[in-house]
Amino acid sequence: MKQIPEYIRVPASMGSLQTSLAFVRFCLASQGIGEARLREVELAMEEILVNIFRYAYAGRNGEVEIACRLEGGGRALVEVADRGIPFDPLSHQDPDLRAGIEERKIGGLGVFFVKQLVPDVRYRREGERNILTLPIEADPML
């Protein structure tokens, strides 16, 4: 079985997106997780990371740490940590999905996607860090 690194640490900036997504993809693929689920997790991860890049450090430089632990049985645990302002995405309000084009508010879909695609996502604040934990199973959600 292929080993995977325990984590990757990158600057909290848009340039880190591809590398971070590739890291998570390698990790999950090594667990035999299939393409359909990989794409869903990739989407959830993009939303989480882009939010950290945009909002967590409020314009200052910062870093993101992504850990990927194999749990056996085709399951894995992805953890995303930053040292930005405290933010619990789970307490963020869902967008109104039924509003028409004119009434519909722009934005608010990123956090919502994460919850839809990884329903068991957990948040905790530990010292100075925001930590999101994403338990990943092999089956696609959608």
Binding site: L17, E40, L43, G110, F113, Q116, L142
Partner: protein, 110 residues
Amino acid sequence: MEITVKKEGSASVVSVKGRIDALTAGEFEKGLAALMAGGDYALVVDFKGLEYISSAGLRSILSTAKQLKAKGGEMIFAGLQGPVKDVFKISGFGSIFKIFDTEEEALRQV
């Protein structure tokens, strides 16, 4: 991401290949803005070749659609593949936009 545009009668067909993510959504939105600036208010967006779209892409779509609506125009969609269709579904975009299986069907309705 690769964007191509063609005129079909009074409509413009925008075909997008590849990925619309946080890195490419800006370019996609600029392409749509350029069409509007040129007076094209009837847009058929063909996503046959689109593999991936994230909320950044939906943001570009909604922002453009609001502007089109204000000008009496419209943006309709064709050719959504599996993952893109899923994103339209969970975001509600599948019910606020008109979506057709093929570009040809979309053009008949525009």
